[in-house]
Symmetry: C3
Subunit: 311 residues, 3 copies
């Protein structure tokens, strides 16, 4: 009876409400995808990401018990399955951007399958990078009890692995999918790495919440970042010329063996932090520093006042 | 056999353990909801949020392929379904707060259905606002490749859309549900917008992790924020008078066309940032600035020291 | 037909791709778990966490309607079920770390069941702590409308409750599981509390994104933190002696009744913030302050410049 009443109240008004929304779909086209070619499906892209993680860190992500006898079959089956999903999503993302509205576009399809195949060939290289990243975390964090702990629970692991996966797809010129992956990791970890950034070996981010690494950042080997570090762009003009900065180097270059402590901000496409430098917490830098420099903020002026004692 | 043994170990002690917990439920009432009217269900509230997103951004969130012929039916069915869920959750949240313990409270029920119906009438208005927010993001971020990318993956999109949805429910005086929605978005994006804040058109938040926008904040049109910006309250007294500040304007006013860069903190209910101002990164402000002001931190004092060169 | 073509493209190369990955598993052992004892399953650990939350805050997390007549059965059944899961996960985490490769290790199994049983005995104590934490939130936040709102939606509630649960398991010497729990909460809330930290009663974190509380931090009663507060370690040497700092007190001590505002950073194992002190926003401290001190940053030097008026 309740159901009846409630449906009645809405039902009287439903046709008008739906008509208004339909009109809004026609009048405001920028945030709809109706009658156009299909977009990638966000949840499938995230499934693919998780599946690739399982291949890269076998025995950690899935719930299968892997041994040397079964792991070859396990991987083969997984890749076979992920290949279908990944090439579907790639073809949707390519097709949508190239604006072709046909139901099957052989050319996009072929390119997508080629990309997906090439992608899986990168797995050994990615594992090599990731094993060094994990080792760098173990060496850099006295709170780390084991490699297992770092692989299982460190936000830096998840965000760096996601970045390395997404970066390979980005290099192939695939739109949308790489950013969906890195923004998913951003959501899970608070670490925002653009898939276009270039990052070297043995990279470690501790804690990580609030880290931002912009699109044109270049980072060398054995670099270590802490929470709240921004590698960003200088101001974006508000006069509409912002889009014209697309593609230019707007973010800094961090050379090998640099450590950047929590809350430091380094901005600008011409800013280079020289090899082996250490940037202290909360430092704000918009200019280059030569190799081997240690930069810290001047002991900040604080005021200390004794309050009426708390009892 | 293992199962038997393990169950035995616990089973011997289970009655005592359960009794102790039951006693704790009776003795510590503040964090239980037993024998009272039902509360809203968090997971259903989040389902509703996702469903409304799908209506606002058709073709992006769901997995249906929308065309002009089917979209009217699609929306009609979705709203019919969401209406039942939303009016159920609203009636639970109202009923719980008004303390009535009856099983069916006709008055709350009617109010809930009225609110849910009114809410769906706002969809075209919300789409108009959101299309402008997306456009502001495209103009404000040189890394943005397409509107699709912004809709799919930008945390600012998710948090602002969630805020705009929750704000409509907040204006109707509905408790709990708006905050469950915005805190869900806070969890996913690191952007914490209270549903009570008032925010104008063409609003853009880039990166976003760490942004806090307090309950009584007022923000004009075409405002742009970066990660780590706090629009907050001055200190809350610890003598128990905190609750008495409820309802007062405690957070700043940001006029039209203001840009606030990463890490800036603006505090206080009387603080007004005048139209067209730019607040630089890491600036800390507890007082008003007139229109058209550019505020930056003094070039901070840094100490540079050359370390023994790294080889 | 598409399926056939696509499968063919990959299938020709699949054996080689799989061989290369298999070789990589053999050559890079640090990020694989193949042919070793099983690790805990992350998703089950998170299920356990959610189940324990439901016991601690009855009527808030699950979708059951609890009354005084059914709650005893509800809790009994839930614990019976969680006990199996928790003792399984504990035994996997212990067994993996002790390096025993047997299929069933009676000793680990018994220890796991003992731990799981002891853990559930802590529920009343945890509820007592959590009820005080919730009360502290209500007193500390003028935006809080009700205890329900705080329990449902505050990130501080989720992260502190998760910490208190994980801390109990940490005290029993269980590896991996406590950190998986707290890093899950870190991902959901942006609040990073190491399960090893020691935290007193009536603890409140407002907003919370970016908070870091290190492994050896000690926090007294009635302490209040805001977003972006770091209680961290001083620099970690890069010469490989980092791991040797394991176990030492590296993080600060915060005494009773201290409030630390947004963005403050307090570092070092010898740093003690005396009872009743207030640390202002953005303060950076690497030394102790006596009880009853109020520390604020000197009014920062800002440059104000009037821009050409925006019209």
């Amino acid at each position: 009876m309740r159901q009846d009443r409630s449906k009645c109240l809405l039902r009287r008004q439903l046709p008008d409400i739906v008509d208004d929304i339909y009109d809004s779909y026609q009048m405001i086209p920028s945030i709809r995808n109706i009658g156009e070619s299909r977009l990638p499906c966000k949840s499938v892209v995230i499934d693919i990401l998780e599946g690739v993680m399982d291949i890269l860190f076998p025995g950690y992500y899935g719930d299968s018990v892997l041994c040397w006898e079964n792991s070859r079959y396990y991987v083969g089956t997984r890749i076979d399955n992920l290949f279908i999903k990944l090439s579907d999503e790639i073809s949707k993302s390519i097709r949508h951007e190239c604006g072709q509205d046909t139901h099957i576009c052989i050319e996009c399809r072929d390119k997508a399958e080629k990309c997906a195949t090439d992608f899986f060939k990168k797995m050994p290289k990615l594992r090599s990078f990731l094993s060094e990243d994990i080792k760098a975390a173990y060496e850099g964090d006295p709170a780390a009890k084991s490699l297992d702990e770092i692989i299982f629970s460190y936000p830096g692991t998840y965000s760096i692995a996601t970045y390395r996966i997404a970066h390979e797809l980005h290099l192939m010129g695939i739109p949308l999918i790489p950013r969906i992956m890195t923004e998913h990791a951003h959501g899970k970890t608070g670490i925002d790495i653009h898939p276009g950034a270039k990052i070297g070996r043995s990279f470690f981010i501790d804690h990580g919440t609030g880290v931002v690494i912009g699109e044109t950042t270049k980072i060398g080997d054995r670099v270590r970042l802490y929470q709240g570090v921004t590698l960003g762009a200088l101001s974006v003009p508000k006069d509409g010329t912002g889009p014209s900065m697309r593609g230019r180097k707007r973010h800094p270059t961090i050379e090998d063996d640099v450590t950047i402590y929590a809350g430091a901000t380094i901005l600008g496409g011409d800013t280079v932090i020289g090899k082996g430098s250490t940037i202290g917490g909360n430092v704000w830098l918009v200019e280059s520093v030569p190799p081997g420099t240690r930069v810290v903020i001047e002991k900040p002026q604080l005021r200390f006042k004794t309050k009426v004692p708390v009892d």
